[in-house]
Amino acid sequence: MTETRTNIIEAINLRKAYNGFVAVDGVSFNLLKGECLGLLGPNGAGKTSTIRMLYGFSPMSGGILRVFGNDIEVGLRQIKSRLGVCQQENNLDPDLSVLENLQVFARYFNIPRKETRDRALQLLKFIALDHRKDDKVMSLSGGMMRRLVLARALINNPDLLILDEPTTGLDPQARHQVWERLEMLRANGLSILITTHYMEEASRLCDRLIIMDQGKILVAGEPADLIEQYAGDHVVEIVNPDDEVRELVESRGFMHDSLEHRIIIYGKKAERLFEVVGEQFCRQTCVKRMASLEDVFLRLTGRELRE
């Protein structure tokens, strides 16, 4: 079935270098119509650099990039007129009111003035900010601003929504508010490319994920498959494990990460991890839980801090 779906984004061997520093190093992926694709990776992995090339903000250093079937270097204006972009930094216009932010943005897309106001009001309703329409942007909370950025990205009825960390810095309430909106849009068939540091966000919204690090793609796949493959189903975490545990894990060949004060053991269903390890060794501080995307992410990108 997937073969018949059209490609919205086609990136082949994409490269980006800033004065010799390679930030994106041969990245290839595609995004199908109606799909929500997540781009994950630690700070500096090259997510924003990749995304910026997609909307023509920064020129590619190499590779081929087609959006809506058009080469980005040829039909950039047409491509951009069909995109909705939420950049990583909030860049709402502080000189304008909430409503004006949408109206002025609509002009950049040559949307007729008559339609603009209705459309803007409709979007404000969608993000539940219609009661603040005449307020200054700077008087909004962080979550409200982020929602407004989302509404602004929708002003031209885009065919592809590009979101760079749409919920970073938001409290759980605000984050869920954004997620709900995004789920509605997804249900309506909008194609979405999203980067995030929240694994919950990625597993909840995305059909497919790409995990990248140091400018390269490490893995790509559906969230459930990635979890299954790289972290199994069940996880047992034991704090200050004794040698017995470490020996058992080695002898059984369990997938595991051995940290200084903690061992994390991953198991498939068939390995009955909870029974074998859990029952016997969960004396001290020990957690039994389901494997998550966060496990996958940390296992693939390492646990040490990035600069």
Binding site: G56, E73, K80, E89, Y108
Partner: protein
Amino acid sequence: MIKKLPVANISLRFIRVWSRNLTVYKKIWLVNFLVPLFEPLLYLAAFGVGLSTFIEKVPYHGKDLPYLDFIAPALIAITIMYNAFFENTYASFVRMYYQKTFDAIMATPLSLEDVITGEIVWGATKALIATVIMLAVISLFGLVSYPEGLLILPLAFLGGLFFGTVGMSFTGVIPSVDMFNLPIFLFITPMFLFSGTFFPVSGLPQWAQTLSTVFPLTHLVDLSRALCQGNLQPGLLWSVLYLMLSTAVCFPLALILMRRRLIQ
């Protein structure tokens, strides 16, 4: 990959940037109007009442000009310079650097060149609006001869374009907003003083006179003064040409410098 000329990236959509700035301008139009309304009054009071008791007449093209008649056109020229230059330095820098307004616009169908062109044309428009108000005030004192004086309006736009492109070129290279003091000290202030604004250039030593003919403001002042006096001469066309050519050089320069700064 063939590099396109920077001007090839300009489309009519630049008007959208212009109209964004107009929308913001209209919000505080009163404040925006007050300065060009009262500034000439202040200058005319200071120089007209204060200084003109010491300087009664200034030689101009073989005749003697009352001091007020001499400086009023210069005030217009200075207003044109200040409005466009400050708009495309401080104001554009704030929008570009602090507000990230340009970044947001560049994710829409507009190109960077559209944005910069819109900003420069807006700077010229702001200079034009200020000139309209100022011209009206100065006309009340009978210091402008019509209909020639009406030509000051297109002149304001041309001068605004020129000083806007110069300002925008500085914006393309300046590391921080405080550093604008430098081009103002080196470029704007000397022109403000030595372009035949408050005293005739003929009073200066020969080398300074030569230098002053290089100053674009000198040409703007000459043109403005000639139009206010209704004293049109073919030689003025050189000044028009000079401003046009300088604009034609600085405009692509501003585009190139801003692209170098913002596109990475």
